[in-house]
C-alpha cells in the first residue's frame, strides 16, 4: 500500500494540476474544518458555506501558503475566520478580512494524533469534567448539559472553561513527557 503523501507534497501537487492531491487534502482536512465551523455555532447550511469559503481561499493561495506542511492548520484557521465573518454578517463594515498568512498555533490540536490523545485524556478526567466535555463535544446546548449534570445553568460555561484548562494542562504535560 502506498504511503500517504505529506501535506506539503499534496499542496505542491495540487498547485501543479493534480486533482487527486486536492481530493486527498479534502479527505484529510475537510472533517476538521467542518468541526471548527460547527463549534463556532453555525447551522449546517452556514457551516457548509464556511468550509467551502476556506477551500476557495486555498485556491486563491495555492502557490503562496507560507508553511506548506501546516496547510491543515491554515485551513482550520481560515475556516474559523470565515465562520466568524458569517456570524458577524449583519454588522456593517465587516464583510472582508485579510486572509491569514499564518495559522493560529492552537489549530495544531486538530492534527489527527492530537485528536486521539485528546479524547483519551478526556476519559481520564474526574467528574464533572469528563461528562461535561463529552456532552459539549456531542453538541448538547448548555441547558441540556445542565440538566444531565444536575448543575445550575449559569455554572456550565465557567465549568467548561475550567475543564478545558485542565485538559490543556494534561495534554501539554503529555507532550512534555513525549
Amino acid at each position: 500500500m502506498q504511503e500517504p503523501r505529506d501535506p506539503a507534497e499534496l499542496l505542491k501537487a495540487a498547485a501543479d494540476d493534480d486533482q487527486t492531491a486536492w481530493d486527498e487534502l479534502e479527505s484529510r482536512f475537510g472533517p476538521r474544518m467542518w468541526a471548527v465551523a460547527r463549534v463556532c455555532g453555525l447551522t449546517e447550511a452556514d457551516a457548509a458555506d464556511a468550509v467551502q469559503g476556506a477551500w476557495l481561499r486555498l485556491l486563491e493561495h495555492l502557490h503562496d501558503i507560507r508553511e506548506p506542511s501546516g496547510v491543515g492548520a491554515w485551513l482550520a484557521t481560515t475556516t474559523r475566520r470565515e465562520a466568524l465573518l458569517i456570524l458577524r454578517k449583519e454588522l456593517p463594515r465587516a464583510p472582508f478580512f485579510d486572509v491569514a498568512l499564518d495559522s493560529d498555533p492552537a489549530a495544531a490540536v486538530l492534527e489527527a494524533d492530537s485528536s486521539r490523545i485528546l479524547w483519551r485524556t478526556v476519559s481520564t478526567l474526574h467528574e464533572p469534567c469528563r461528562t461535561l466535555l463529552q456532552l459539549v463535544a456531542t453538541d448538547l446546548g448548555y441547558q441540556q448539559v445542565a440538566l444531565r449534570l444536575g448543575v445550575p445553568l449559569g455554572s456550565v460555561g465557567p465549568t467548561r472553561t475550567r475543564c478545558l484548562e485542565k485538559l490543556r494542562t494534561l495534554i501539554s504535560l503529555q507532550e512534555t513527557v513525549q
Binding site: W22, G30, E44, A48, V51, L56, P92, F96, A137, L164
Partner: protein, 148 residues
C-alpha cells in the same frame, strides 16, 4: 476564545456524531475545477461608498483592485437569486470579456464601452468575477459570499 474553539472542534471530531455531510465534501472537491491558471487576485478595497454595506434596497457594493484595474460590483439579492451589475475601470481594452462565477454556474459577458457588465439569476453563495483581456493574465476578484 481561540484555543477553546479548536479544542472543542477536536473533541467533536473524535466524538464523531456530527460528520461532515457528503455534499460539503463533494463541493470542496469540485472547487478545484474553479482555479484560474496564472490569475492575478484582486483584493477588496475601499470605495467612495463604504464597501460591503447593504443599501436600503438590499444591494451590496463591493470593490476589488489589482493589476491597475478596479472592479466595482453592485450585487442585489432578490427572489432568492443574485443579480450583479459591475464596472471595470479603466476599460481593459478591446476583446475583453468577464466571467461572473459561482461554484455551480458561470455566465460570460462582453464589456460595454463604459466597462460595464451585468449578470442576473445567479444562485446565492460564493461569487467571483474574472476579467480576461487579450495579452494579459486574467484578473480574478477574491471570492465573496452573497446571501439574502
Amino acid at each position: 476564545m481561540i484555543n477553546d474553539e479548536y479544542f472543542l472542534a477536536a473533541l467533536r471530531l473524535a466524538a464523531g456524531n456530527d460528520p461532515m455531510p457528503g455534499h460539503v465534501s463533494a463541493a470542496a472537491r469540485d472547487a478545484y475545477g474553479l482555479r484560474v491558471p496564472q490569475a492575478v487576485t484582486a483584493a477588496p478595497a475601499e470605495s467612495a461608498t463604504p464597501h460591503g454595506v447593504r443599501g436600503i434596497d438590499g444591494c451590496q457594493l463591493v470593490r476589488f483592485v489589482a493589476a491597475g484595474l478596479t472592479f466595482d460590483l453592485e450585487v442585489t439579492v432578490g427572489d432568492g437569486l443574485i443579480d450583479v451589475a459591475g464596472q471595470i475601470v479603466p476599460h481593459p481594452g478591446e476583446g475583453t470579456h468577464v466571467d461572473v462565477r459561482t461554484p455551480h454556474l458561470t455566465l460570460t459577458r462582453r464589456l460595454a464601452r463604459t466597462g460595464q457588465f451585468a449578470a442576473t439569476g445567479l444562485p446565492p453563495g460564493w461569487l467571483s468575477v474574472v476579467c480576461h483581456r487579450p495579452g494579459h493574465p486574467p484578473v480574478q476578484t477574491r471570492w465573496v459570499r452573497i446571501r439574502p
